[in-house]
């Protein structure tokens, strides 16, 4: 399933971008090779400066030698202009050809733009690949901090006490974890962090729980039923307090959303548990199946 979703995202993305680019080529969406008449106003400060209106955005431009004009881009200018600039190795301006000029309009020829979407997706793919590493590296510190604290809690016997308390509650969800196993401790800590909206702590504690579940896993290459259940619980995000990002975005409005969020998240959690349980039951029936099959 994950293989299909993953491939699907990439294939749909590339084919869709390709289709759009072909459409743009056929319709010449970006007016490649066609000079455009653009209204302009002269700047009051310098004779070589003008302000022009291109694709509903107002841009500053400057006349250069050899019939060239440099169009300065800003945040409001449309994406395709930025793409043209980027193709020609420049982020801030477009070097266009000035064909003629009269009192109200400039006749200019912009550099050509082809395969805009395909360029865009590849650019963001590489950006995201870099970002992924940044994200993972950023995890090191928080990870180390929580793993260190968990180690103390384990060695001092704190986790053992905790396991005794939460075991009866969690046993139904995780029937294959042996009684008294520390995995119950990290699972409940992770769930507590989720419930309180402490995303920062939830991830390291969740990873700790996954490591402990891996020690119980019979097939180290494949997710166990316990792991799937744990992941389902995490993705359905059991929570009582809204996540910090939501508070940042919505401000005080968030307080009246707390009850709806709790209700909705309960629904998604119940759904997650049911699906995980049903799959676990089904896979138990197929226990003699070829090991390592499935995704």
């Amino acid at each position: 399933m994950l293989n299909k979703i993953w491939a699907g995202l990439i294939i749909i993305g590339i084919l869709f971008a390709f289709g759009q680019d072909v459409y743009d080529e056929l319709n010449n969406t970006f007016n490649n090779g066609i000079p455009q008449k653009i209204p302009y106003t002269k700047s009051l400060t310098s004779p070589s400066q003008v302000t022009l209106t291109l694709s509903q955005s107002t841009l500053n431009a400057q006349f250069k030698a050899n019939q060239r004009i440099h169009i300065q881009l800003n945040k409001q200018s449309p994406q395709y202009l930025h793409d043209i600039a980027a193709i020609h190795g420049n982020d801030t301006h477009i070097n266009a050809k000035l064909i003629s000029i009269n009192t109200t309009e400039l006749n200019i020829l912009l550099p050509e733009l082809h395969w805009q979407k395909l360029r865009a997706i590849i650019l963001s793919a590489f950006d995201m690949a870099k970002f992924a590493v940044k994200l993972a590296i950023g995890l090191i510190g928080v990870m180390a901090l929580w793993l260190g604290l968990m180690q103390i809690a384990e060695k001092s016997g704190l986790i053992k006490h905790m396991v005794k308390v939460v075991q009866p509650l969690l046993h139904w969800l995780f029937p294959n974890i042996p009684k008294g196993h520390p995995a119950f401790g990290s699972i409940s800590m992770n769930m507590a962090a989720n419930v309180l909206g402490l995303g920062n702590a939830a991830t390291p504690l969740g990873i700790k729980a996954m490591q402990q579940l891996q020690t119980l896993n019979t097939n180290k290459n494949k997710a166990s039923d316990e792991m799937c259940m744990f992941l389902a619980l995490n993705t359905s995000s059991v929570q009582l307090l809204p996540p910090v990002t939501l508070i940042a975005l919505m401000g005080t409005q968030v307080s009246e959303l707390i009850i709806p969020i709790i209700l909705a998240t309960s629904c998604s959690t119940v759904a997650a548990i049911s699906v995980a349980k049903l799959y676990a039951r089904a896979s138990k029936k197929l226990v003699n199946n070829v090991p390592g099959q499935g995704e």
């Binding site: 979703i5 901090l145 103390i152 001092s156």
Partner: protein, 173 residues
């Protein structure tokens, strides 16, 4: 409630270390021992995260989402809810930053008081970035075969999506 969250982590740290001291644990040494793993885990996660985020980036940048949206709009109208919240439902399982963007945009165009924004916010609050969680959690322990975890996660997201719409409409009307 907000004050509570601010207190929990410092109290928890105090409690763990204090309890360790009472039990005569070499707290500093144990902390360092445990923390050592942090680096390896993060490095383990990198290939999984790159694979996932790059695929999602291609999908998002292609504009396919907007296309799917126009296809789904009549369906949304049929069920009587605004199509504007569909992007949230599709983006939420894929990327956290993307869904923050969608929500911010909705707030911009419709205002915080609108039912659309409330629904989207409930959706945001009640589900998680399934594919990211999957990549991070399974990446940390080097598991590529994720069995039925994706299915369970996505069903949970879908249930959260439907529940968010119905609960918000019921609660605020």
């Amino acid at each position: 409630m907000q004050q509570l969250t601010a207190l929990i982590i410092p109290l928890l740290i105090l409690f763990i270390i204090g309890y360790g001291m009472i039990k005569r644990i070499a707290v500093y040494e144990e902390f360092v021992d445990g923390a050592k793993d942090g680096f390896n885990i993060a490095i383990n996660i990198i290939p999984y995260l790159v694979a996932m985020l790059f695929a999602i980036a291609i999908f998002r940048a292609s504009g396919a989402l907007e296309f799917i949206l126009t296809m789904l709009t009549p369906l949304a109208n049929l069920f009587g809810f605004p199509a504007e919240i569909i992007p949230m439902g599709i983006i939420r399982p894929l990327t956290g930053s993307g869904s923050v963007g969608v929500l911010a945009e909705l707030i911009n165009t419709h205002g915080e008081d609108s039912l659309i924004v409330k629904t989207a916010a409930v959706m945001f609050g009640s589900t998680e970035t399934t594919l990211y969680v999957l990549a991070v959690y399974f990446g940390a322990i080097n598991i590529k075969k994720t069995a039925y975890a994706v299915q369970a996660g996505l069903v949970a997201d879908f249930a959260g999506f439907v529940a968010a719409i119905s609960v918000t409409y019921w609660y605020f009307s």
